[in-house]
Amino acid sequence: MSQVAFLGALELGLIYGLVALGVFLSFRVLSFPDLTVDGSFPLGAAVVASAIVAGVDPYLGTLMAMAAGALAGLVTAVLNVRFGILHLLASILTMIALFSVNLRIMGRPNIALLTEESVLTPLAPLGIWAPLLKVLVAGVVALVAALLLIRFLASDYGLAMRATGANPRVAQAQGVRTGAAILVGMAVSNALVALAGALFAQMAGFADISLGTGTIVVGLAAVIVGETILPARRLGLVVLACLLGSILYRLAVALALNSDLLGLTASDLNLVTALLVGLALILPSARNPLKALLVRRAG
């Protein structure tokens, strides 16, 4: 793996780390399986790309993207809380609708940002090597988001939200307005995912309608890999494990891209990635890693 490939994996891992944080909030904290993210990731990209092309400041555009993502999360939450639609179905409805909404926002399926301004433009005079700069920016954003999320979840309101996900009945009995907690949590979750989409569009140089494909899978994989690699009960570590899981997932892809030495071809990429992530999940929990691979555990 070359240095550029390694930094690229870090950059994408940190960007998708924001997706992992969002998925962690909906899936783990609120126990709300949320497929909206497959739509809110390209939504963030679509909003920021359209805004930048229209001459809006990239930082303002990124904030607009987050607001749009929050709105998408709210729609899913309202469908669930207010109208009683099953959470999974509510999120699928929003996700399907977002495909058309994203096309409307962009006006076409692909917007190029290669020659446009981005959040990186004001930092260019620092003279940092571009691949490194992208990692630094993505890293700062992901870390700040993670720290804010930790603080939020440790606050009184955050505790109420965690109670909502853990046991809604008890939470209600304690006076928590669970409906409102779900609305807020889903808005924050999808705002984080849209932020990831907005950063991806600016760093990769384009927004495309197909960007969202499989976002939920990558997000979930990151959350679960993080939990397995860094099993912790402390809130702060649990949240940071999401970022770690996301980076490990991207490193697995980068490794899979270099697997041609083993006689594997380009078409095996997704299989190799799945195997590497699978190994990451199996090995740490096994007392004797080699044995765990070879022998079926009894009982």
Binding site: G8, L12, F99, P109, A112, G205, T213, N258, A266, L269
Partner: protein, 336 residues
């Protein structure tokens, strides 16, 4: 979660036939040229957004043309290939991997792959291919003088010629239905072109959107009564479900035209197309020029040079149209 993958440049290639013809020719040419070039070892890194017959054919074309120019895999050419398997984030990662390895030329196939590579390097020469709209994709600022480290090939369909063909076979067509996936950049570009070119030929365009292959039949049925013929552009989603359109065409006596020649044996009455193996060959020529030392930025972006006409008289008859003798005589292939 199943979505149409955003392959922007999509056409079923009629590669198999040309393969059998083109490969020996390429090898024969290669024997003559081998001594001329073939000095230093070179690395060419190719990436595509997804495995797809058309994109794969383009890659084969590049490799065979390079062989013809004296750059042989396993001899003096390291020919790398990675597919993003439909995921744009992976496309970005592949671009970074290639840039880190600093090959002599990177050849991205399809728009998302080309954008990912262009964002990753401003130094390593890039020769993109199967990109429909290089200007819209911001890959180059000018087709004649791309500038910088990038040039390549567009696979834009000759839309004007397609409309002329429709007019020649069915002169009284006033409303032409177009079925397309609004999520494919390529199709949207083609639709814009159709809207520009059609009025001059006395044709009004009526569009029907089909975001998924399963929507295609309903889209075709929505056109019945509103149009005199149906045109199927080179749209991955729509071409997959061509049979559904042909069925509607036969039931309602609406001639179905296609943008790609592979659709003609499947039931479209005529198509003026090109195949992606030839696109790859033409791209390979540009790659060879860059390998020989020419600056990519000074090589103009090229369009497809070879087109071929396919007709299907049987399908035409079933849709209530008889093909003019002149058209059949001109056709490269007449499907029986």
């Amino acid at each position: 979660m199943v979505r149409p993958i955003g392959v922007t440049d999509t056409k079923e290639a009629c590669m198999s036939r040309l393969f059998t013809m083109g490969l020996p020719v390429a090898l024969a040419l290669g024997l003559g040229a081998a001594s001329a070039a073939a000095a230093a070892d070179v690395t060419v890194a190719v990436t595509a957004i997804v495995e797809h017959p058309a994109l794969d054919a383009a890659r084969e074309g590049v490799r065979d043309e390079l062989a013809a120019q004296g750059y042989r895999v396993g001899d003096n050419l390291d020919f790398q290939f990675e597919s993003a398997q439909g995921n744009p984030a992976t496309a970005a990662q592949i671009a970074q991997k290639f840039v880190g390895e600093a090959p002599d030329v990177i050849v991205p196939i399809s728009t998302p792959s080309a954008q990912a590579v262009a964002a990753a390097t401003k130094d390593i020469p890039i020769v993109f291919t199967a990109v429909t709209d290089p200007l819209g994709a911001k890959l180059v600022s000018s087709l004649e003088h791309p500038g910088g480290n990038i040039t390549g090939m567009t696979d834009l369909s000759p839309i004007g010629a397609h409309l002329d063909l429709v007019k020649e076979i069915t002169p009284d067509v006033a409303n032409l239905g177009v079925i397309y996936n609004p999520g494919e950049a390529n199709s949207v570009t083609l639709l814009d072109l159709l809207r520009q070119e059609a009025p001059a030929r006395g044709i009004a365009i009526v569009e029907a959107a089909a975001p998924r292959s399963s929507d295609v039949q309903a889209a075709a049925q929505s056109l019945v009564g509103k149009v005199d013929a149906i045109y199927v552009p080179t749209d991955n989603t729509v071409v997959t479900a061509l049979e559904a359109i042909v069925g509607v065409g036969i039931d309602n006596q609406l001639p179905v035209y296609a943008g790609d020649t592979d659709s003609v044996p499947r039931g479209a009455i005529a198509a003026l197309g090109f195949n992606y193996y030839d696109v790859g060959i033409q791209t390979g020529k540009i790659v060879a020029r860059v390998l020989a030392g020419e600056a990519p930025g000074s090589i103009p972006v090229q369009g497809v040079e070879t087109t071929e006409l396919y007709v299907n008289p049987g399908a035409a008859e079933r849709m209530g149209v008889s093909l003019p003798e002149a058209v059949i005589a001109r056709a490269k292939t007449v499907v029986e």
